[in-house]
């Protein structure tokens, strides 16, 4: 299944590049640098989805102590951290020509950095605790706490004055985005979501194989 998902992701990523560079029009204010949006925004959406899956897996593990739930939580949080890292790095690259700075400690950037550090801590915690059951239990608690910060990241642009623009899509009311730009964004989101699903599936399978080898 994961091989098919991988090929599907590869095809979708190619379609996403065609949409982002060939179909989507030139943005009048920013020029071509705005095309970073087709990578930056879907990367954070996929990270949000992965962390939501991690949250569900962590709750399920604490409730039933099923190793499968822990494996899903572990895989989803690791993949979410990879996507969030890409989101932060591409945001910094986009920020330099548009804002004049790679980084600023405004509410959105600071809150997303806090979530990123929390998930790095989550992955380090799993490595640091020798006993696998205890590591899973501690990580589940940290995974829940870290995932609960995501609404703070999303609403930070409304609650505080920030340099970062408010959301164009994940907000109440209809989108003001031109249809071609919206289509390119959604195709790239689908592509990165498939890539994320492929990574989570493979990582969860690998974790199962590792546990089997240690048993």
């Amino acid at each position: 299944m994961s091989t098919a998902l991988g090929w599907l992701a590869a095809v979708a990523l190619t379609a996403g590049l065609v949409m982002g560079f060939g179909v989507a029009p030139l943005e009048l204010t920013q020029g071509n640098v705005q095309r970073i949006m087709y990578l930056h925004v879907p990367a954070v959406w996929v990270a949000y989805l992965a962390f939501a899956l991690g949250l569900a897996g962590s709750i399920a593990y604490l409730a039933g102590r099923r190793p499968g739930a822990d494996r899903v939580a572990h895989a989803a949080c690791e993949v979410g951290t990879v996507f969030l890292g890409v989101n932060i790095a591409t945001g910094a690259i986009w920020g330099k020509p548009t804002w004049g700075t790679w980084w600023t400690w405004d509410a959105r950037l600071t809150s997303v950095a806090v979530v990123f550090v929390m998930f790095i801590a989550y992955l380090l915690l799993r490595q640091a605790v020798e006993d696998r059951e205890r590591a899973a239990r501690y990580a589940a608690v940290l995974g829940i706490v870290a995932a609960l910060n995501i609404p703070l990241v999303h609403f930070s642009v409304y609650w505080w004055r920030t340099l970062h623009q408010p959301p164009s899509l994940l907000k109440p009311g209809s989108s003001t985005m031109p249809p071609a730009i919206l289509a390119a964004l959604l195709v790239n989101f689908a592509a990165l979501a498939l890539l994320g699903a492929y990574f989570v599936t493979r990582r969860a399978r690998l974790l199962a194989a590792e546990e089997e080898a240690l048993a």
């Binding site: 204010t29 920013q30 020029g31 071509n32 640098v33 095309r35 970073i36 990578l39 930056h40 990367a43 993949v79 990879v82 890292g85 890409v86 790095a89 591409t90 690259i93 986009w94 330099k96 020509p97 890539l195 990574f199 493979r202 990582r203 690998l206 194989a209 590792e210 080898a213």
Partner: protein
Amino acid sequence: MPDNWTFVVAAYALAAAVFGGYWRWLNRRERELAASRSHQPSRSGHPRPEPAARPPLQQ
């Protein structure tokens, strides 16, 4: 506004490197695990013979 293609290329190249690196890491880990499994002793407690030491299949 200038196009800043360098920044666009840098962003996409960085993402390709991160995702590609993670994919390669998954592949490498799977290979390592498969290799360690093939070197594990069998359930009877006797070490599994190396492929070269095994008798050839009878025709």
